[in-house]
Point group: C2
Chain length 303, copies 2
């Protein structure tokens, strides 16, 4: 469970507890252990998806969908699709040939708990599962909604989104990227998937594309703030609380928001982005309070 | 280009040449080189998708869709989605932690031509691209068709399909699998994706699920025959012609159709399966001649 004392926000704390339970229950149902030699694969998929992570992305989907009165079960399912992409990306990013990490959510990474081949296949299988979930009639009875969600998530995860950002991140080592390039890199690596979490909520809510500007701006601003706080936590955070290795960018000589702006300016930038993100929600009433609280949580998070 | 002298079939030869050109042209258009540090990633994706492979899967999609008068361009796009999944799976299967292969389609494998991290990300990006292609209105104007294609392909590629079969294949080493288990393994590992190639053609053709039995049986039979000929070629084939390493199963002590049945019985089984596959097409007239020729090609292929 996430420590939310910093947010001092009962609504948000309740929302986090509820989405964590819902997402765990969903993945438990999506991933029954088969009675053949795929057991190890599905166990690795369960290890990577059940009982770990803050579930910020599914909460973004659910909170956005709730603006438009979408059935919560449908929104949780769509949120799980985004979380499956997030989980697959962490498994692959942690591989020895990528970031070579040993710790994730305070547990051994998948390739250490299982093995590298199983980790590659568990990531691939979660990637496919995301699109399976989105294309099920149980997620939305409207095929247009299903197809639009698939289009949004596929773009956010591919070479024009997360995977492309990860490639830029690898190239960043010793590349002396400037603030503009780092912003673009992070927009792809982290921002695209966070944005898709909001977008899926809007699609489920049948919000026309031309009316999505405010929510997209909100998502873009919290996505950038999320990455800057990630860089701040990487420099100032505690490895035990983070449940993963920190200060790797510095060791690798990679430019980050903090190395380019300094910690104080980075913190000020986060504050400005979160204020701006909340400003984009001005057209919504109290039904957007959860999205506002989520933005403040991103500003104040300690892990 | 594939040597088709064994098929002695002008229609099929023309169809292969045309689909190879069309698929190459499509991937060229899907994968423009970006003007940032994602260049290497997109170059690896292009290396893995343009100018290699027989294109059996896209041809299956196009030939099936043609039964129902589907626009060829739409069918080629859907076939490219299946081929993108196939290409991603080859990249990941060839990784050092998986089959550790050095040669594919007569060229260095992606992780050798580029590097392991790029290979993981290129596979992941092609995986996402497949669903991007299927969810584009250009592939089908009908969102129900798009969503149904995504559902079919996602299931075929995940833990209940190709990735699950790959996991079983890894477990097969020294496991003494019997013929029943090998059949199930190959149905997942190879059969599911070949089946999805036919299924996508039927979905584009708006063939109702309850009328797809014959085509599904055809796909199941040629899929199994395809894998048995793969095992035969692995034992009897020439590495130069195959463009990849052979006789790896024997070295790894894995049971195959050939090790369990013997080469002669395996060959007879392929013949029976192909006759049976063609039998399932009896309800179609000359418009199914390409699917019939494809089945014979699978029986007689030398690579």
């Amino acid at each position: 469970m996430v420590d939310l004392t910093l947010t001092d926000n009962g609504i948000l704390q309740q929302a986090f507890i509820r989405i964590q339970q819902d997402v765990d229950a969903r993945f438990d149902a999506f991933l029954p252990i088969p009675s053949d030699s795929r057991t190890r694969l599905v166990e690795a998929m369960r290890y990577a998806t059940i009982g770990g992570g803050k579930r910020v992305r599914p909460l973004l989907t659910v909170a956005t969908a709730a603006l438009f009165g979408v059935n919560r079960d449908a929104a949780v399912r769509a949120g799980c699709a985004v979380e499956a992409i997030h989980a697959y990306s962490l498994i692959h990013d942690d591989l020895p040939c990528m970031d070579d990490d040993t710790l994730r959510h305070g547990k051994a990474t998948v390739h250490l708990e299982f093995d590298e081949a199983t980790a590659v296949l568990a990531g691939d299988s979660l990637h496919a599962l995301a699109f399976e979930i989105l294309s099920m009639p149980e997620t939305s009875g409207d095929p247009f909604v299903r197809a639009e969600m698939v289009a949004a998530l596929a773009e956010a995860s591919g070479f024009n989104g997360m995977a492309g950002g990860q490639m830029m991140d690898i190239a960043a080592e010793g590349a002396n990227f400037d603030l503009h390039t780092i912003t673009r890199l992070q927009q792809l690596k982290t921002g695209a998937l966070l944005g898709s979490a909001v977008e899926l909520g809007a699609i489920l809510g049948r919000l026309p594309v031309e009316s999505r500007g405010n929510l997209r701006n909100y998502a873009r601003d919290i996505g950038l703030a999320f990455q800057i706080t990630d860089d701040l936590l990487d420099v100032e955070g505690d490895e035990g609380a983070a449940g993963k290795a920190l200060r790797k960018d510095e060791k690798a000589g990679k430019a980050t928001f903090v190395s380019l702006m300094g910690a104080d300016d980075a913190r000020r930038q986060v504050g400005a982005l979160i204020d701006q993100a909340i400003g984009h929600l001005a057209i919504y009433g109290s039904e957007a309070d959860l999205l506002r609280a989520l933005a403040r949580f991103i500003q104040n998070r300690d892990r």
